[in-house]
């Protein structure tokens, strides 16, 4: 079974530039998560989708971040414009069920973003 796929793995951009991350969850997984992980910290939830609906985006900085999950499968997370403080690893995860707190979450390898 293929795991969660993310691309790109690494991205280096200048501040104020836009950037987008792509995630393909495990087939059949209804729930998709985007997390941000700073160095030495645990993942922090940015947004959670149940199928194509964003059911929790309370931690997403909506002035510069946006996300979409087309047809309830792949998802894209965008930052525009990027700031120096956005440098971090962006993790995508998916789960079969819709409980964001008890379902086993399967994580992708993450995209490491560096903003110069």
């Amino acid at each position: 079974e293929a795991g969660v796929v993310q691309s790109p793995r690494y991205k280096i951009i200048e501040k104020k530039q836009p950037v987008a991350f792509w995630c393909n969850p495990i087939s059949g997984h209804n729930t998709l998560y985007w997390y941000l992980q700073n160095l030495g910290q645990g993942p922090e939830l940015l947004i959670r989708y149940e199928n194509e609906e964003a059911v929790d985006d309370s931690q997403l900085p909506k002035d510069r971040f946006s996300a979409e999950r087309l047809k309830g499968v792949d998802s894209t997370l965008k930052i525009q414009p990027a700031e120096l403080g956005d440098s971090a690893v962006y993790l995508c995860a998916s789960s079969v069920g819709t409980s964001g707190s008890t379902d086993t979450q399967y994580f992708g390898p993450g995209t490491r973003l560096t903003v110069l």
Binding site: G40, L45, S99, S101, Q105, F107, P109, G110
Partner: protein, 110 residues
């Protein structure tokens, strides 16, 4: 607000010994605790989930305890191996999402 804390210092142990990692939580009473393993450059991998009414849970060489009085979970790896070296993250439910601790680095030396 709720807070979840793990030892910030790395744990260095000798191969074959039991590693014990600590997770403390405050200002909240979670119903579930989860433990994940994270290797450098990779995403976390789920290991175990324990419910508040379960005192202990085991899986192969892993054991997790959940003490609601102390507000603490302990994660044990028995007969540790160098391959167990990684960062171990604990997480608890908060509403319908997971809140993660910062993780503890475990280094097992042969």
């Amino acid at each position: 607000s709720q807070k979840i804390e793990q030892n910030s210092e790395a744990l260095n142990i000798q191969e074959g010994k039991t590693a014990t990692l600590t997770c403390n939580y405050t200002n909240y009473s979670p119903a579930y605790l989860q433990w994940y393993r994270q290797d450098p450059g990779r995403g976390p991998v789920f290991l175990l989930l324990i419910r508040e009414n379960e005192k202990e849970k085991r899986k192969e060489r892993l054991k997790v305890t959940f003490d609601t009085t102390l507000k603490q979970s302990l994660f044990h790896i028995t007969a540790s191996q160098p391959a167990d070296s990684a960062t171990y993250l604990c997480a608890h439910d908060y509403g319908n999402k997971l809140v993660f601790g910062a993780g503890t680095i475990l280094r097992v030396k042969s």
